[in-house]
Amino acid sequence: MSRATAPLALAELVRVDPLARGEVAVLPDPAQRVLGVELAETFDRLARTPAHSLVVLHAGAATGGWSLAAALHVAWERGAAGVVVPRAAMSGASALLARRLGTALVVVDDDAVDVALELAARTAAPESARALRVARCAEELAEQSTVRGVLGVLNAELAPGVVALVTGSSVLAGRAAAVQQREGYREVRMAVNGPGGRAWASLVASLPEATSAVAAEVEARSAESVLRLARLPLLAAWAQRRLDTSAQAEAERAAFAVLRAAARSRADGADTAPGERDAAAGPAGGAAGDEAPSWSAELGWRVEGVNRAVRLERTAAREGDDEPAAELTQLLRVQWARLRPGWPLVPHEGGWVSWQNAAEEPAPAVVRRAFAGLEPLLADHGLVMGVGAGHRGTAGLVRSVEEACLATRAGSDPVTWFEDVGVRAVLAQVSAPAVADVAALALPRLAAARDRLVLAETVAAVLDHGGSLVAASAELGVHRNTVLARTARARELGLALDDPAQRLPLHVACHGLVRAWRATGSG
């Protein structure tokens, strides 16, 4: 048997017309070979069906009810490859029976005689049927605009085999079973190159072992043809997805900027004194006095009611840094959407902003719970998070975002709540890089010390606790004597902790230095 005449498998035959126009009701063994086609109009004819033929029921043998059940039984007795039945004769119970007998059953709408003639032509020229299948597959692939869609076509086309798109050891899309070594299955792999010919990913198909060497070669060849065809639609869909995500993120960034500017100009227009700005928005329950623009709803945002904002920032980010990479934004948006569905994630001033929206301010315990469980995400991407207080309306959202930003800068934990920071928020206004620069001049010996970060942290803690060594040691988690030794060394390096005139600037400087040195990792 040459390659060109290797008989078609049922799985191949149902992918081309006329069966592709029909519906596969039961396909227990897609690898079943089809050696011929029988048009059966009587049960006498059915009883003479040669093994491995596909039986097309017609006239008296296709009146429905008992006739299909009886035909399935005869087909099973005769070892037929399957039964093709006109839709009028089909029923759910017959599909159940076909499944029980392990007989393939395909339902067609076209005239049975025409179907049988077409099928005879297909089985007589297997290679031309295979070419038709590839052509049909190409059409279907061309219609797909998503990676998921392309993988869906491949998985349907190569069933019962499974297909996945992988890069390295990660499955990007498709069925993960494709990369597992399974008994009785073999792997066909096709590299997918990105723009510029660089290797980007691979398509991996896990196909059932063929019954013969010729069949194996034929199947591998048609699987490769199909996978090859899928490469371009895949790349296009992938690029489109990246483009769409980036465009959406940019649109949201701009929209948020507009929202913020509008809220601010309204507050300025109200002629409030410095320090009272946004107070009109008030805490939760205060008069909002503004309305959300209609386009915010089009973005899927909700800003009516009480908003509690979150600021995400990279630990290592410095003020004035460029915006984070678009890929990181994409990744975060996907993960964020999974963890906190309904919360937007908008790139904003070197970090990201999100918010929880509720009709009324929830109870404090409920609020805290809503923000729990985000630590692993923060740790994975080296992020810190600040949480603002809850405020009403658009102006309230803008205010909550500012509070969240302050909390991020004032805090030293992965998650800092503005409500916990209190007046220490003022320190967030201290420019850490500027402090570091001044400290190099004002405290040159400290700046040059190897243990400068530990010393600055210790002095800041002692001053935070009004000079109490016990309280500072508890906060730092070290022995009191250690704190004593470190303050003594700090004094040697020129830090005058006991001088009332120097205490405030020293306190501010230490907080600034800690933040700057932590951020740069230069402690």
């Binding site: 009587t42 009146t63 429905g64 009810g65 009886a70 399935l72 029923s91 119970a93 159940l96």
Partner: protein, 361 residues
Amino acid sequence: MSDGELTAADVPALTAGAMLYSPSLAPSSLAATVAWLTDLLERGGPLRLVAPRALPPDVGCAAVCVIGSGAALADLPPTGDEFVAAVRELERLSGREVGAVLPLSAATVSALVPAAVARQLGVPLIDADGMGRTFALIHHTSMHLAGLPVTPLVVAGATGESISLRVPDAWRADALLRAGIDALGGWGALAAYPSTAGELATASLPGTVSRLVEAGRVLLGTRDPDAVVARLAAVNGCRRVGRGRIVALEHLSRPTDATIPTHPSSVVVEQVGPDARQLRLELRSEVVAVFSDGSLTAAAPDLITLLDVERGVIAPLDSLWPGDLVDVLVIPAHPVWYSAEALTMVGPASHGITLDHPRRR
């Protein structure tokens, strides 16, 4: 029933047996006929039930039955004299007095009416019939197979009108009658097969009336489905093809057959237990075939019926519902129905099922 007598006390068992042999009918549609027969037997005393051979061979006989729709009979109850009038007219046409009557088919309402007619006429009821169950057409009888003519016949209606008919070919009788019966109100009292006791001794199926009473007693005696099947086996050779749940009712799934006035449909039962198979019951006005995983297991003239397992009663075909647990029972017909000629007339092919009968393979 004792020593060839049918009493009012036997009527419930006769009715239950009559339902077993024609499960397409709802029991409520028999109520008026049951009350009529019970009243006649209570007032007139027991009825003689005799084997054809027990009568002098030259006694004139006639087969009687209800022709048309049982439901129409419930809607338009008999005035009571239709059957007597039909027999009297038949006597006039055949020139022979009727000294005994027999059921054309001992099943459904047509098992009860001949007893009432015999009581009214004051003649014995012959313990035999022409079908041993029901078939669709009036020439589907052992008398016809034996060469007895179906006509002259008379059909009398509740309207006081009657139709008499004489045909050279028996199979034309039903076709000619059908429109007339519609005009009579949907049913009629049929008296046909004018014959002698001697002719019936070889041409009819003996013992079928008393068998109904015996089967009826089994059904009334227990609600345990296993006991019902075991006891029926002793009475009429009943066997269980399988027990399962109804999973589908397929109505009007196919083009109708022009010769038999009914709609083809199917009931699909998934057998329970380790050897679970799919049983497909083909319905016309009765269950005409059972396929087990697509293989023809039983077919007309076998009598196929369903037993409601949870209630222990025969399930009328119009009461079936997906989810019901049923036993599929098969009762063999009289051996005369398995000859090639009879199978052509009433076998699976007569219902459009072009397969060999399982007993002929």
